[in-house]
């Protein structure tokens, strides 16, 4: 999907809507179990209706900000995500069973490299499901990158929290990032520009 010029700007929204409608029909048919004519037709009607009522979504972003999914990277992200989720469950178990020591809590600010709401949401959710951390606030910032406020149980070192968050961001961008995100990732090796 490359292309420059006006023609691209006019065609792409249509292609996008068709792809989305197709995805919706696919899910609809899967929910009903069999690709019968009735299911396909009703699916198409529902898809058209839904897209008419909710036309928004990431499609509103400029071409450069479009999320692009690469083939294998989502699995790497998912793998890391699952590992962190399992470990976080263990850490909760330990906190519950262990004697009540007063753990130090804290809030750490993490500046992401990306400004994209998609990446921000994915990373914020991933952080919440990792051991000891919970995203409590987020500030969008088109220029410097999204700012996340992360609450931590058992805080020893703010930098380690930031490192872990930025690592997640790297995996998320590799999997779902837009061209703009990837460029930012390449040019800012260090978290603070």
């Amino acid at each position: 999907m490359s292309g420059t010029g006006r023609r691209d700007g006019r065609i792409r929204p249509v292609v996008q809507s068709v792809v989305r409608a197709g995805a919706l029909v696919l899910v609809w048919v899967a929910l009903w179990g069999s690709p019968s004519v009735g299911n396909l037709v009703s699916g198409a009607l529902v898809a058209v209706f839904v897209l008419a009522v909710f036309p928004g979504g990431p499609g509103r972003l400029e071409g450069q900000d479009e999320p692009r999914v690469r083939p294998l990277s989502p699995f790497r992200f998912l793998g890391r995500f699952v590992v962190e989720l399992v470990m976080s469950t263990f850490s909760v178990a330990i906190a519950v069973v262990a004697p009540r020591r007063r753990v130090r809590e804290g809030v750490v600010k993490v500046r992401l490299r990306s400004s994209s709401p998609v990446i921000g949401t994915i990373v914020a959710n991933a952080i919440t499901l990792t051991p000891g951390t919970l995203t409590v606030d987020a500030e969008a910032d088109r220029v410097r990158g999204t700012l996340l406020y992360v609450h931590v149980l058992g805080l020893d070192d703010p930098e380690s929290v930031r490192a872990s968050a930025l690592d997640f961001e790297r995996l998320a961008i590799a999997a779902f990032g837009s061209a703009e995100d990837r460029r930012r990732l390449r040019t800012t090796g260090e978290p603070n520009p």
Binding site: A95, E105, K109, L134, D137, L147, H151, P158
Partner: protein, 107 residues
């Protein structure tokens, strides 16, 4: 019992154990934010395990799609729910434990 049924049983039991853990956690932990940790993490994993367990027993496409949908929805919404409550509490400031350290370093 077939291997698949054994897998289903294990997943269901583990998931339910995590449900219990969430309940214990939300009662025992000392403050709101800690309880949020207990409410989201084991519960999400528990739900995933239960869904895997059900998928082993009930393998039709229609039902597996529903289960996948539930898992995806859970991943998207559970952290956000806790986050929104946390954000509200953080902004008002009334619920943070008094000796919470806030890292004010400008990043």
């Amino acid at each position: 019992m077939t291997a698949l049924e054994v897998l289903a049983a294990v997943c269901l039991l583990l998931g339910s154990g995590l449900a219990l853990l969430s309940g214990v956690g939300i009662v025992r932990l000392p403050d709101v934010f800690a309880r949020m940790h207990a409410a989201t993490k084991p519960a999400t994993l528990g739900l995933v395990l239960v869904c895997i367990g059900v998928a082993c027993v009930d393998t039709s496409l229609a039902d597996i799609t529903k289960l996948v949908l539930v898992v995806v929805l859970q991943f998207l919404t559970a952290p956000v729910g806790a986050h929104m409550v946390g954000r509200a509490s953080y902004r008002i400031g009334g619920l943070l434990d008094p000796d919470t350290v806030i890292d004010e370093s400008d990043v």
